[in-house]
């Protein structure tokens, strides 16, 4: 029996069409619990960004979105936006103040926190994303990777109980991608529920425990191993299997391997060691 108090997000039969008639979401259902990290996977135009915009009430489609068991409505938008922190796909949408510190302070100050606490939050958030020295910089003079982390910090400073991330690793170098993954996992350890839209199949196992496959409709849902080892399912959506899983799945098909499909490097190393020992 699931404790209802632990359900962070619940989406019921959500459908949405853009004003020009494009159907972007078709009866989407899913739920997410406290402390869970879920990857939202789907091809371009699958409606990932559209779905995320519903989670803090920026778009309102037909169907229901509940945050901590409260239905999102006009009356509780303020509360919802305090709970659900959203990091946009394009960091330039998120950075609009004249200095980085002001931008990071924007959310907490809107929440009405006292000045002293706002300052602490700003310092902590910038520290967390590794931009502590740049608080006085003009955001549009930062590099793309820095702006991506800055956008994350502007949401982190609000300490939301739910984080919604739209392609947080796109266009980052490999090192920065891994740092972003660590940041996401750290928020999860602190108890946040996290939804991450991504195309980076190889990162999915690192940053999430569950996967929702979306193509306007929910195509599949389950744990990372359950979903990501189904080659046909992934192929049909024009997605790839993670490179490690793909290799082991091929070996399995050829009868060379019989264990569980690994998704991370150390799991794969372990599997290979076991094979060599045989």
């Amino acid at each position: 029996m699931i404790n209802r108090e632990d359900i962070a997000i619940e989406v019921d039969d959500l459908s949405y069409s853009y004003p020009d008639g494009t159907l972007a979401l078709d009866e989407v259902n899913f739920s997410l619990k406290r402390g869970e990290s879920m990857a939202l996977l789907g091809p371009n135009g699958a409606g990932k960004s559209t779905l995320l915009l519903h989670l803090n009430g920026l778009l309102r489609g037909a169907g229901k979105v509940r945050i901590w068991n409260k239905e999102v409505s006009e009356e509780n938008l303020r509360w919802v936006r305090g709970q659900v922190g959203m990091v946009f796909q394009d960091p330039d949408d998120q950075l609009f103040m004249s200095t980085l510190a002001e931008d990071v302070a924007f959310g907490p100050a809107n929440m009405g926190l006292p000045e002293e606490q706002v300052r602490e939050r700003v310092e902590w958030a910038l520290q967390s994303v590794g931009l502590a020295g740049l608080s006085g910089k003009v955001p549009h003079h930062l590099s793309f990777g820095q702006r991506k982390r800055a956008a994350f910090a502007t949401v982190l400073s609000m300490k939301p109980s739910i984080m919604v991330l739209d392609e947080p690793t796109s266009n980052l170098d490999p090192q920065s991608k891994l740092e972003m993954v660590c940041l996401i996992r750290e928020q999860q350890r602190n108890g946040a529920a996290i939804v991450t839209a991504t195309h980076d199949v190889n990162l999915v196992a690192l940053l999430a425990d569950r996967v929702l496959l979306l193509d306007k409709r929910v195509m599949a849902e389950g744990t990372v191993p359950e979903i990501m080892s189904q080659r046909d399912l992934m192929d049909d959506l024009g997605l790839e299997m993670p490179i490690i899983a793909d290799l082991f799945q091929s070996m399995k098909e050829e009868g060379l391997y019989s264990g569980a499909i690994p998704f991370k490097r150390d799991e794969a190393m372990e599997a290979i060691r076991a094979m060599l020992r045989m």
Binding site: R78, R81, F96
Partner: protein
């Protein structure tokens, strides 16, 4: 990353740069008013000298400051040319064909000098602090918050527009577009500009969404203020004294 940086001089270091923003704004406004009401050329020249002295102290590159002066100069030039001819007050300076009114010439020169002096002072206001600091100080001095927000966001969108413009230009260039004076060129350019407007509009919508999602409700959070120290007041007193003195030379 944007290469466009109107705030680049605000990161210099000088007695004017480290002056607290509100006292600096008020003092320099007083100086500008004093310059603008100067009644004759000597007083206006004194104002100009003080403004140029301040530019030197601020460390703003003089060449750039002078280059900037071409705008007020062009704006004021017609006065200097027209007033001497149209004023019909004796005595006249007689150049044979052209009769010039001494009074008109004085008036034209006075307008020109006052205008340039005031422009130099305004340049110091803009060049010694980032735009947002000046706007925030103005709003803490009583400018309505909605007006301050309009200024701040306009400033932000100028950068977005500039970036979009660069992207658009690069995309046109890379497709081998060359501006010619024919209908096709004009059509392409018109389409590009229309796209630019649509894109900036959609961009501003996205930015607004991002603001809403962080709890924006029409008010910018207050910015912490710098404290006013004795030295700031002292600098203010100096500028105000200068503003008075130029009228007694």
């Amino acid at each position: 990353m944007s290469g466009f940086d109107p705030d680049r001089f605000s990161r210099l270091d000088s007695p004017l740069h480290n002056w607290e923003a509100r006292t600096r704004l008020i003092s320099l406004f007083i100086l500008i008013i004093s310059i603008v009401i100067a009644g004759d050329i000597i007083h206006a020249l004194a104002g100009l000298a003080i403004s140029i002295l301040l530019v030197l102290i601020s460390g703003l590159p003089l060449s750039q400051a002078v280059a900037f002066m071409k705008w007020p100069f062009i704006f004021l030039l017609p006065m200097l040319l027209i007033l001497p001819i149209t004023t019909s007050v004796e005595p006249y300076l007689d150049f044979g064909l052209l009769k010039i009114s001494q009074e008109g010439l004085n008036l034209g020169l006075l307008f020109m000098i006052r205008g340039l002096a005031a422009a130099f002072s305004a340049l110091i206001i803009m060049g010694t602090a980032p735009f947002n600091v000046n706007i925030n100080s103005l709003s803490s001095l009583g400018m309505p918050s909605s007006l301050a927000q309009i200024f701040l966001f306009t400033y932000r969108y100028v950068f977005l527009l500039y970036d979009e413009l660069q992207t658009m230009k690069r995309s046109l260039d890379s497709k081998g577009f060359e501006m010619r004076s024919n209908v096709r060129s004009a059509g392409i350019l018109a389409t590009a500009i229309a796209m630019l407007l649509i894109r900036s509009y959609e961009r501003s919508e996205d930015v607004f969404n991002a603001m809403l999602s962080r709890g924006y409700e029409g008010r910018l959070p207050s910015i912490q203020r710098q404290n006013i120290c004795l030295i700031d007041l002292f600098k203010g007193a100096l500028i105000c004294a200068a503003a008075v003195v130029i009228h007694f030379i």
